[in-house]
Amino acid sequence: MLKEKENIGFNGGFDLLDAYPLRFCNIVERIPSDGIQETFEFRIPDQKIRHVIVNLCPTEPWELPNWVILEHKTTEFLNKLKEIKIRYFPEARYYIAITKKDSEPIAEAMNYASNAEWMEIFALDPKYPQDDPVMLLKVILDVDVNFGQDAMTQGILILDAQTISAIYENGILGNTVNSRFIALSGTGLKENEIINVQLGTPIEKVLHNRMKACTCRVFINGPLRGREITDLSLKIDWAVNNIMVLKELDSKVIFPMIKSDELALTTNVLGELRRCVYCNFCDDICPVNLEPALYYHSYTRGEKHKARLYNLEKCIECGLCSFICPSKLELLQTIKECKISDKQK
């Protein structure tokens, strides 16, 4: 049965897929690691799993798209899921969250679900950060968890498509899984590609010959939620979904109003630092209905304890407030600092 859920507990968000259309060319090549290979191993959780959420809802354009794993054979993928269900979590209920942009997998999954009582299909808005665990749990199961809290404690397991194929290969078929797909994109690269890379390969080797000759910065798992990598000898593990290389635009560009395409997707802040003008952009875009400017003002007045009174723990650190702020304030940084002093207490 199909449940279309729109804007349930989710008034803000931002359609990044529209704002930054990225196209991946179809080249999928295998990059072997020279050193020690690492393998994927699935550890069965200790808790009793009651709900399994399959996340097929990438909301960032630089994330691995669905077609790489599904290969337009959604039924086959769901058959794999059924095997996993029989083997590992027979009593759990399955929820498939698919982005609304992928009409083909939705149709196939609907077709499949009409004969399968154990699963439900959810067509979700492809708005960032819909695929965040907190948002998924809220929209699908109506369960409230705080950011950073493990959903496993409530008996809920969230899996992405690639992990499910890997569990199937490793657990059901008994093959060793030592490689994974990674999306490579960004303005610092010659081409946007999807690569199949062995675990344990250093990032250096992956990016070799692919980067443009300019100052670039490398980000793992996207520039919004991910982290910056300065040490390129870091090895790729299973948690790496995508690598993004962005141009470091640290010089002034003349006539920026007519060059928005050239400036987009660079690390430039695209504006000058100003004082907060209370424009309400941050609380309009906030997916969890917080008011980030309140934290900023509390912080600048030196009243971190006050910031914590305004539902600070609900923040999922998606970074949209800093992203949208026309005054270019570091709102996410402020929120994180307000949170840190909480832990120290």
Partner: protein
């Protein structure tokens, strides 16, 4: 456009670079012209700061665009209609005086004295609003004084981001107290016809002392709604062509520069309360549609009450803010000897915005 600018780009870029390094190496020059150069440079070139903390990409939308959108909306909303109705000589001279005194003299001097590193874009908006809320025949020195007062007052309170009340309205209040005679006279009858050269320059040489609201106050005369809507009735320079103001305001709402809650609640409460009082008191108070379309209500509701800094931050409180503005406006118009109350209502609610905001925060987070 891109191709046209391509050949001159490197020349301007290099020129600005040399100028910048010159200014930064000479301390005295930097002291005097640093802020002015910064503002000029900021208009032509993007900043060179890069994101050092998460998130590492930022949206292409800054305060300059925010203010630029308001400026464009105001130019289409009142400058062009006013040029048609009152002639370009009247409008352009006021704008020049307002900008030169407000932004290029007072704000630059303030930046030098207070050692600010940049000139705020908000000054342009205030200086574009000051002539709009003064009568068409007001002397130029009055416009200049108004612009200077607006900018000084805003800067004294700490600049854009800290102003307590709308600077343009505050300066008008100041002028109303100091020079009341100039603000009740000097209303011109708008020109309505195919403009010839003379009319395009001077408009119609006919002075009236009656705006539709004062006419209603003195003899109960209701001006036709159509003439109020398209601007063929007298009034302050920028408030008469309500049709253009509404269209410009809706454009700003679409861009999300203007928060739709404030015009909706302000205009809605004016209509509601004026219907209420009309039903109770009959013909002695102004009819609802006349109240909506007369005076500075449309200009105030779309462009002044919505000034984001002086309203509340909480979205729910914005409804209270707008409704309060409407309440005070209708009260002043209907029950006092003053013909117009938009200025007072917005200024009063600007001050009340702070307690409303803190109250809303307390209610929302159960403090």
């Amino acid at each position: 456009m891109k191709k046209l600018l391509k050949p001159i780009e490197p020349i301007i870029d290099k020129g600005l670079d040399t100028l910048e390094s010159f200014i930064h190496t000479h301390r005295k020059v930097n002291f005097l012209f640093g802020a002015l150069f910064g503002a000029f440079d900021g208009l032509l070139r993007s900043s060179k700061e890069t994101a050092q903390s998460q998130p590492f990409i930022r949206n292409n939308y800054d305060v300059k665009r925010f203010m630029g959108a308001v400026l464009v909306a105001l130019v289409f909303g009142w400058v062009f209609p006013a040029i048609y109705f009152y002639g370009w000589q009247c409008v352009i001279s006021k704008l020049l005086v307002s900008f030169i005194i407000g932004v290029f003299v007072v704000d630059v001097l303030w930046a030098i004295i207070a050692r600010e590193d940049h000139i705020s874009e908000g000054g342009f908006v205030s200086c574009l609003l000051v002539p709009a809320i003064l009568p068409p025949q007001s002397p130029l020195w009055l416009v200049g004084l108004g612009a200077a007062l607006a900018i000084i007052f805003r800067n004294v309170l700490g600049g854009v981001g800290n102003n307590l009340v709308n600077p343009a309205l505050f300066s008008r209040l100041f002028l109303t107290i100091c020079f009341p005679s100039f603000l009740v006279t000097g209303y011109q009858i708008p020109f309505v016809d195919m403009p010839d050269l003379h009319a395009f320059r001077y408009g119609l040489d006919a002075i009236t002392h009656a705006t539709p609201l004062t006419a209603f106050k003195t003899n109960g005369e209701v001006t036709s709604y159509l003439s109020l809507l398209i601007g063929t009735s007298s009034g302050s320079l920028g408030e008469t062509c309500r049709l253009a103001l509404i269209l410009a305001g809706l454009w700003l709402i679409r861009l999300k520069v203007v928060n739709w809650r404030i015009p909706a609640s302000y205009l809605g409460s004016v209509i509601f309360l004026s219907i209420f009082f009309s039903v109770i008191m009959g013909k002695s108070v102004a009819p609802p549609l006349f109240q909506l379309l007369s005076g500075g209500l449309i200009l105030g509701a779309f462009f002044m009450a919505t000034d984001p800094i002086t309203t509340t931050y909480s979205q729910v409180a914005k409804w209270i803010f707008g409704a309060g503005c409407g309440f005070v406006t209708v009260l002043i118009r209907d029950f006092t000897s003053l013909p117009e109350g938009v200025m007072y209502s917005i200024l009063l609610m600007n001050l009340l915005a702070i307690p409303i905001q803190s109250l809303m925060v307390k209610i929302r987070y159960r403090l």
